[in-house]
Symmetry: D2
């Protein structure tokens, strides 16, 4: 059973490969009556796009999104929204040298063993190409969440290799190609990346994603807790190897008296929980952090085997990312948006009539 659908009520189903004709997406369950055009989605797609700077993949796709169904006169109708992105810049010749070998760290070997064959061009379905559709679908979710609830979702680079940041300014995040919130560190990042590119190697990164102006009550215990679905969403992104909510792995050595966030009528006084208690959103900001591994498509050679199981050496040429973490930011935002959208509908389905006697409290006392 393939897993190319995400979400139970707001569902994205996706198809498309690196070197196929087009990427398709179908978004089912979007409420009717919301204004929606391609302009609403193209922005995030451009942020994700390869070729935007010398620091990312040199493949030049326009990633022009087309909405082929689900709207009428620029408004959603409640019928499924069809998304189409044509692949325009495919260069199969870059990959023929690895048609018969497996690139370590990639999905080549596992796809071959699972399916018995694989489209080796650019990684086929395992390529990050498909994330373009996720970003488009995430744009629909972001718009609804923002217009209906005021929820905002923003990601940023919190660490690249050994480089961490001292200053934080949301306004800087989109001012550089790294989604870095600290403008003072940008020259250091550029220099680090240039050296990496010259050496033919790659590095990992950490991305943080925040959802603010959150509503309370999202999450469906016990298995579809909000954090469980967020973890699922994030880990489904290529290259993610770890995920944390709130204090994350710091909790291992945290006392209960320090960890728990006291509640006052003016709001919570801390946010170690990351905005989720018992799997349900508390109204506090959602704090998510993910680790992205370094790309394995690098110019440095390494040992591998070929399709017959014999030793071979392999290195990759062509258009690759020395740090996939840079481009994961809009993808992670999109996945968080889709997850929250799905949960907003799930919560409404069951609890639309609930009126709690307890008043809302502000997100935090600050």
């Amino acid at each position: 059973m393939s897993g190319n659908s995400f979400g139970k009520l707001f569902t994205l189903t996706s198809a498309g490969e690196s070197h196929g004709e087009a990427l398709l997406g179908i978004v089912d369950g979007c409420p009717p009556g919301m204004k929606l055009t391609e302009e609403d989605l193209q922005g995030d797609l451009d942020l994700r796009k390869p070729g935007s700077s010398r620091h990312t993949t040199q493949r030049r796709e326009s990633d022009a999104i087309k909405i082929v169904s689900g709207t009428f006169e620029g408004v959603t109708t409640g019928t499924p929204i069809g998304l189409l992105i044509e692949n325009t810049d495919q260069r199969p010749r870059d990959y023929t040298n690895i048609a018969n070998s497996f690139r370590p760290g990639h999905a080549d070997f596992t796809y071959q063993q699972k399916y018995g064959l694989r489209d080796y061009r650019g990684g086929g379905r395992s390529s990050a190409r498909e994330t373009a559709i996720r970003v488009a679908a995430g744009g629909i979710a972001k718009k609804y969440l923002n217009e209906k609830y005021g929820i905002e979702i923003h990601g940023y680079l919190s660490q690249l290799g050994p480089i961490t940041f001292d200053n934080f300014d949301w306004a800087e995040v989109h001012n550089n190609p790294f989604f870095c919130p600290d403008s003072s560190k940008v020259p250091e990042l550029e220099k680090y990346m240039d050296n990496l590119r010259k050496s033919g190697d790659s590095i990992g990164a950490r991305i943080n994603i925040v959802a603010s102006n959150m509503i309370t009550g999202l999450g469906e215990p016990i298995f579809d807790r909000l954090d469980a679905d967020i973890a699922h969403a994030m880990m489904s992104i290529n290259a993610v190897k770890g995920i944390e909510i709130g204090s994350g792995f710091e909790v291992v050595n945290q006392k209960g008296s320090d960890h728990r966030d006291p509640i006052t009528p003016e709001g919570f006084t801390s946010n170690n929980s990351g905005g989720i208690l018992g799997g349900i959103s508390s109204g506090q900001d959602l704090l998510v952090s993910i680790a992205l591994k370094p790309t394995s498509s690098i110019r440095l050679p390494t040992d591998s085997i070929d399709k017959k199981g014999h030793s071979t050496e392999i290195s990759t040429t062509g258009r690759h990312d020395p740090c996939v973490g840079i481009r994961a930011t809009p993808i992670a935002e999109a996945m968080l948006a889709i997850t929250l959208m799905d949960h907003a509908l799930r919560h409404r389905a069951q609890n639309a009539d609930v009126k709690s006697e307890t008043p809302s409290i502000p997100a935090s006392k600050q």
Copy 2:
């Protein structure tokens, strides 16, 4: 839409609260023809059981599992397996003081806001009580995976508060109440825990889970990658705040040339991937690590609000865990087993006829 089912082909549906009459579970999709009796499941339930040592919750449940359907003459029939565990040790009087207030760090506040009411006794559905059913269902999965494929699933404590371990011996893990693999550290753990209990506080922990003798090909890209479903499964466990696969957050500062695991005909030469490439199992050991937060049910008082939104102070009495991490080990094993079982069936559904020209390679070259 509530989320009380987990798994698409091997599905566990669960019901039951801390102070309800009984816990129910229905396991759907188990292949027929496997021997199965209560004895196969009771062992893991006893490992999870409260009251096994002075270091865990002092609630004394027998947790006797009953299989009420789905087997005939001790063999699975392919029909849904009904699981029943009666709650025998409920003491409602322990919780009446918090009927009208919310314990910080717990689900009380969020359940109230989501549903408009809550069963305050012992946390109701948010209590860890329901994990008994998960462990029982996990036992069914473990048995099948082991008998059909030889897969073994084992968890252990890898860190408790500040205490880490230097020696590793699988045989020690079940020799102490901590699931600690280093017998030399057990006295230190006991002393640390005794002090914690006296002080009325709690601490977090890190648990590692390993699946060995893995088969290749499990995982359903792009959204139901094996690691995405594992992350979902783990994060659905109460108190989990972070999850890592393989090198986890270490990848942030790892070079691509170091991270990727080279392949030789004798096997992989490292396992930074944690056994998953492109979301599909490679045959290497699955390496999963989770962070568990410290329990918020501690004797030390803290600020909170009551149901009307007014300030109050709160502390908990009664039977609680100073370190929930200790008991999470069999639960995490169970969730990994259920996830792998589900994926084994999903992979078989689509790819039962696949014969790859590439031979299997050993899990690792050691």
Copy 3:
């Protein structure tokens, strides 16, 4: 992948066999805040119960329903509702003569071929026993639909063998063991059934189910149209071989000018559609009709084969229904209720904010 769950938002998962210890059900997704106790469900269970009259199965089960979770102080909490019915009257000795043969018309042969083994006692999972859980779950749905929307669901016998009815009085339906709306025909039914029982044979029946005070907008095109899900629900009941909505098979020879139901501000002027247009409820009464085949468990012998594939003759003794149609009425009501409940939540999930400029119109102009 077993199919023991029904419904996407209001989900019933069921387990239990004819001769197992107990029947289990888990109802997930019920909105919180509704009063619910066993008394609300026992009534329909008693209507379904075997042994209520000489015309139905002579097995005497008390079918006492227990709610083991999901409510607190008699009110639903939004957590999964656990249902338990213990099997009390099992007589394995009645079936040993068919342990090694297959009863024609029954599921014996197909279960053996599908699973490789079967619980032959009373049909195991294929027995109508499991429908008790459906009726209990249907009771929860009926209550919510009625309290929130005023929707009422009622079934009745519309034909038994060759006997049809001339008069119709809803009040008569529960006044006889046949669910027959025409009291003048009851003696004829009794005589027909007595003769049938003496002859050792069985007969089929037609049941109609009506949902009145319907709301508009239920149904999720294109695949989960309301009629598609109703058909699924009805056909999942043992012995159902046909289903019609509205005019059903009469439409084959109906002109378009006759079939379509004109709309006026005072309401629709006919109801050939059966209350569903384009897969969505129109507000008119839902009109559903199902055909139930005659039981194959009869005293008259017939040809069959044994487990080795050799010829044998077979007849059944023990407790059986000469007309299963009689008892299907509460089951069909329950399945319709569960389907409508599920769709009410699905519709609300996506369209809770919709305000149509078109006013409601009455169900029909009469």
Copy 4:
């Protein structure tokens, strides 16, 4: 929660409207390694196509199918198959007169009430246009079922209005535009249809669909019985109002001694069950019959209301079917194929290792 996906393991997700840019389909879960090109699918699409004869809709779509992902070098890869059909013949001007009124018998009124707005051009999503995608997906399923199991799926017209058929020849079914198996009746059908077209009215039809060379064991009791899923699939087709399996509604007046199909080592001696026992396929031919209502888009005027709820009169002009039943045949075949494909994978997922001691028996003794 919209319902635009069908199938659990072999899943079709669909998007697209009558007057949108394109129709999209994503088929997920197709096993890898099967040859597949557009040529395999175009044939059935041409059979369904409007404009093929004077007896069907005069809209002239080429319905050229494009496979945009999921295959590599003409073979399925196990990744999702993307289907694209561009709408080429849209004439919005035909529908502007009904932008503000509701056509009785159509989905206009219910879509307006459900979503608050509707794409009135050609029925929008409720139009039969979307069935083109179903037929394409059905072609993939038919190919796999035939190549792997030898299963064949064929539909035919069994009644049109008052006209029934005396002779039956499979070879005739594709020799006339009616899918009529009796060549001697074709002139009568043509005359009847011509008169109907002149009068501006429409008529219903009955279609039978047969799956032969069936395998045993398909169907997932209790809720996803094979017949339940077939009923769901068929009832999801526009205009279907009734469905029968095997003897269908004849069972109402059938004795048990007549209905049950005796089993001998040479095969079953009758097929009243229609190939399904206890919800699982028996190996006998699957016999399905559906009733299609007459189109409500006819030139004869009738009463309706406008969007404000005021009385109006309405009739339709433009391109319409006087008998939609004619074109439903390839759609019904497709839906049966998709259902069987889904169940073949579901059965394999759970029971791939089952070896029954009972030998196969032939489908029937004839």
